[in-house]
């Protein structure tokens, strides 16, 4: 939510490919900026202290906790959120792998997992179960027990590899 009393900063941010200028308060988190200002509510807040990973977005290629980053720190950055993953209206390969492997239940943590794994897969393929678990270990899911998530990462990685 916007804090009307604090000093404003003008920032220029590219979110899911669209660049715009915004005046933001210095203490507004990137998560609140995305959710409240841009109404991109697919980014969720699970703990607000950087552990659960539900708020993970990609900033200049790196997966970050948007609850621990201020909006002003995103000035000049390219931010990717879950809303950008199915830009064409069709689920992307990772989203399909999540669906096909029942890698989600309540869905609250899902956006964070999708963004963490998206960033990880860009760095290279995930070859085995242990590596998949390592990739997933920065995010918490309370519903699924992770087995569907593990399989989804392996499937998506194979597809990205062109197998």
């Amino acid at each position: 939510m916007t804090d009307t009393t604090a000093t404003g900063h003008l920032i220029s941010v590219t979110v899911n490919g669209a660049t715009a200028q915004h005046a933001v308060d210095d203490r507004t988190t990137l998560a609140d900026f995305l959710r409240e200002r841009l109404r991109l509510t697919g980014t969720h807040l699970g703990c607000e202290h950087g552990v659960c990973g539900a708020c993970t977005v990609i900033v200049d290629g790196a997966a970050v906790r948007s609850c621990l980053m201020l909006a002003v720190q995103a000035d000049g950055c390219a931010v990717e959120t879950v809303e950008g993953l199915a830009a064409e209206g069709e689920l992307g390969p990772l989203q399909r792998a999540f669906r096909d492997n029942y890698a989600l239940q309540c869905g609250f943590c899902t956006s964070g997992f999708l963004m963490s794994v998206t960033a990880a897969l860009r760095e290279g393929p995930v070859r085995d179960e242990q590596q998949a678990r390592d990739v997933l270990s920065g995010n918490i899911c309370r519903c699924t027990g992770y087995s569907g998530l593990v399989q989804a990462v392996l499937d998506a990685s194979r597809e990205a590899d062109g197998e």
């Binding site: 939510m1 009393t5 697919g42 659960c52 989600l104 239940q105 869905g107 309370r142 087995s147």
Partner: protein, 781 residues
């Protein structure tokens, strides 16, 4: 991942992909904090920093003057709503202390709400919270049941003479005498520690009052919207039709704590009404740690008597239960006492419950709900019996299991629903033998012996359980052909990720004989269905499932009857092809669902209906089970312990699971595996520690460890299906079975691994520190 026994017939039993997933995968879920509420203000609560104190005064002047703050209310400012939030399950002997929505004069746990700020943003509301000065008169606090029961203990409620909220006993046979006569007896003390639900979405409430209609609309992440509406109706003294409670279509997990009713749910709508603007409160995680209900803290002093073959003769258990600062209900400890005998024949049993007041967050159900503690106690003792007699733990279990031809099996004590504890169906030996088979048990024991000889500490732990589920009183469903020509199934039950929109369309599809793509499901809105109970105790599939099937079967009759009139045939000749009701399957002799709606629902103003057509294609059904159904299962853990660090590695895990007939196997697997991860947390990691002054010591995820993908092992999961005779679908509950026996199985495995050292595991979670302590104690004994 798993194999499901049983044939697939129609949509019931099919692993259908969930309808919910596309919106959740694209960031278009609509959780409470995502809802557009134009003009909404944000609320934040001031919470007690003391576990026990009287409030001398609260000075909120500075907070009220902060720009952007619209209002500040202390408990004393809202006396009109300071009415007790009643315990869900009570007992005539319960010494109840009123739990007030926002107590005006005294606090009894850290985190109890004492004032609320409403402001233009949450940032400003929290700024204002920091400006409120509270003058407390601190009182001694009770931080454990041991402290509560100690001689000269401080009182959790000032001026009381005892911290015991209620003392209850259940018996069958004569345990006292049987223990005296038994050839062997063993006793032990086990403690299980508090843990939370930790849904990834915390609690949240938003409300808007419309003076023109007099209606108060409340959005609430509750698992029980109709329960919330009833409580608000009583407290506000408003008719229930003037209060609409909506659990949003997307709620980010429940696991029990959201089934309870909290002060914040009373305060926020009332404040919205007072101010005349929408108000939203979203609990943050630090609030969740200190204000969402939790459970599990119990100490069991158990004694078992058995014969030379390891057959149980008697069990006596004294359960000290941490009820927290107020009794939100006796559901958890009463489930514990009735779960103790589990799948075993226990001819003589005596269970005594001492529910204690402490100065901690009130205890209420968390996935498992009192069962993990009972299973931990019983299963640890079965392993001790095996050790005492030098028998294999699997053999001891086999000898004590209730056999498949003994159902219905009367246990001799009472379940929490008030009925005699009676198991409806099951095949416990098949679950255990299937589990052992998947372990390759004899070979595994041989391998264990080899590894032990090499000095490695590898252990095998088994745990069997039953789970009372599918409880009453009832759950309902409405079905209607909408004026757009689609079938709408309306449930009172609210989902938190279970996939209701998919599962209940599957059930309705089979009852209607109609493709599920013409069927929509809506849930959790009190304005759409008048009566309901809620999602808890693994009850919905076995209650709302049959209700949906019955309502949809009635709707099929109504649709067929209407189509038959229009086509000039008998209703029995009607079947669906796509969305067409056809005579003998002939699409040229048919009416679409839309055409049926146009005739029987929409009609033509002033024109008589065709002869034989009944107006309004709508049905409803409520299913009230005679008593609880019993799901069951067997878990096996193989672990290796590092004696230097106390670290436990799970090498293999097998789950045998029986929840009766399965509606959607893939969703049931998800429930079991998700519950299992929670159980691994309870077994090894999660601990809501409080210090002696009842100050919470684990109030962030840096101190409270939730399991990630690297801690949860792969599971070899198999199912058997023994249908419940208590409902027409033969369904039982699946939500908690993954959690319940996991701490017992892991603790048994760890103690088995440490057997060469003689170390005892008496406390869950089995943390590295406790393992190292146990090894050191064994060495010095």
């Amino acid at each position: 991942m798993s194999d499901h026994a049983g044939a697939v017939k129609g949509m019931i039993g099919a692993s259908v992909t969930r309808r919910e997933d596309d919106r959740l995968l694209t960031g278009h879920g609509r959780y409470l904090d995502d809802l557009e509420l134009p003009g909404a203000l944000a609320a934040a609560f001031l919470r007690s920093t003391f576990a026990h104190a009287n409030i001398r005064s609260i000075d909120a002047d500075a907070a009220r003057e902060l720009p952007g703050v619209v209002a500040v209310f202390t408990g004393a400012d809202l006396m009109e709503i300071q009415k007790p939030l009643a315990p869900k399950v009570t007992h005539p002997q319960l010494r109840d202390y009123p739990r007030l929505p926002m107590p005006p004069s005294a606090v009894h746990y850290v985190g109890e709400p004492i004032a609320v700020v409403v402001a233009e943003s949450r940032y400003l509301a929290e700024d204002a919270i920091e400006l409120i000065e509270v003058d407390y008169d601190e009182l001694p606090a009770v931080g454990s049941t041991a402290a509560a029961l100690a001689p000269d203990a401080p009182m959790a409620h000032e001026g009381d003479e005892s911290n015991v909220a209620v003392r209850l006993a259940q018996s069958s046979g004569d345990a006292e005498q049987a223990l005296r006569d038994a050839p062997h007896t063993l006793s032990a003390e086990f403690t299980v520690t508090r843990g939370g639900g930790h849904s990834m979405e915390c609690r949240a409430v938003a409300a808007r009052f419309d003076p023109a209609t007099g209606q108060l609309v409340v959005w609430d992440t509750t698992q029980s919207p109709h329960y919330a509406r009833q409580q608000l109706s009583l407290i506000y003294q408003m008719p229930e039709d003037d209060i609409r409670v909506i659990a949003p279509a997307d709620v980010g997990g429940g696991f029990g704590p959201k089934a309870q009713f909290y002060g914040e749910e009373v305060v926020i709508p009332w404040v919205a009404r007072k101010i005349g603007r929408p108000v939203k409160w979203v609990e943050d995680r630090s609030e969740n740690f200190v204000s969402a209900m939790m459970e599990r803290s119990q100490t069991h002093r158990v004694e078992v008597g058995f014969d030379d073959d390891g057959r149980l003769i008697a069990v006596r258990d004294l359960v000290e239960h941490d009820q927290g600062a107020y009794c939100a209900g006796l559901q958890v400890p009463s489930i514990t006492t009735s779960t103790l005998p589990g799948p075993y024949r226990v001819p003589n049993i005596h269970v005594e419950l001492l529910a204690c007041y402490t100065n901690m967050v009130p205890a209420s159900s968390v996935r498992g709900a009192g069962r993990p503690q009972a299973v931990f106690t019983m299963e640890r003792m079965l392993d001790r019996i095996a050790e005492h007699l030098d028998l294999d733990p699997a053999v001891v279990r086999e000898r004590n299991l209730i056999q498949p031809d003994e159902f219905p099996y009367e246990v001799g004590i009472t379940f929490r629903d008030g009925s005699p504890l009676t198991y409806d169906s099951g095949d416990f030996p098949a679950l255990l033998s299937g589990t052992l088979e998947r372990l390759d048990y004899p070979a595994l024991r041989a391998e264990q012996a080899t590894l032990r000889a090499e000095g490695r500490l590898v252990g095998i732990g088994l745990a069997c359980y039953v789970e009372g589920c599918g409880l009453g009183p009832y759950e309902g469903a409405k079905t209607r052909l909408t004026n757009q020509g689609r079938v709408l199934v309306t449930l009172a039950a609210a989902g938190q990720g279970q996939g209701y929109e998919t599962v209940y369309a599957q059930i309705a599809a089979d009852a209607l004989g109609l493709d599920m793509r013409y069927i929509d499901v809506t849930t959790g809105d009190t304005s759409k269905i008048p009566f309901g109970q809620g999602t808890f105790a693994s009850r919905i599939t076995a209650t709302a499932g049959p209700a949906t099937y019955q309502a949809a079967a009635q709707l099929r009759e109504r649709l067929a009857e209407t189509a038959a009139v229009l086509l000039g045939c008998h209703p029995a000749e009607i079947s669906f092809v796509g969305d067409r009701a056809c005579l003998d399957g002939d699409v040229d002799k048919s009416r679409t669902l839309l055409e049926l709606a146009q005739v029987a629902n929409i009609g033509k103003h002033g024109i008589t209906l065709p002869k034989g057509v009944r107006a309004g294609l709508e049905t409803s059904a409520y299913f009230a089970p005679e008593r609880a159904a019993y799901a069951s299962g067997a878990h096996a853990a193989v672990v290796e312990v590092d004696p230097d660090t106390g670290g436990v590695t799970i090498l293999k895990y097998v789950i045998g699971h029986d929840c009766g007939n399965v509606i959607n196997p893939r969703l049931v697997d998800g429930q079991v595996l998700g519950g299992f991860a929670h159980g691994i947390g309870n077994a090894l990691y999660e601990e809501a520690a409080y210090d002696a002054d009842a100050q919470p010591q684990a109030a962030s995820y840096l101190d409270y460890s939730l399991v990630s993908a690297t801690e949860v092992p792969a599971v070899d999961l198999f199912h058997i299906q023994t249908p419940s005779p208590l409902n027409p679908l033969g369904a039982k509950g699946a939500g908690e079975g993954g959690t319940i026996p996991a701490p017992a199985a892991v603790a048994n495995a760890v103690e088995d691994a440490l057997r060469p050292l003689g170390a005892r595991i008496n406390h869950a979670p089995v943390t590295p520190a406790r393992v190292v302590d146990a090894i050191e104690r064994a060495a010095t004994d």
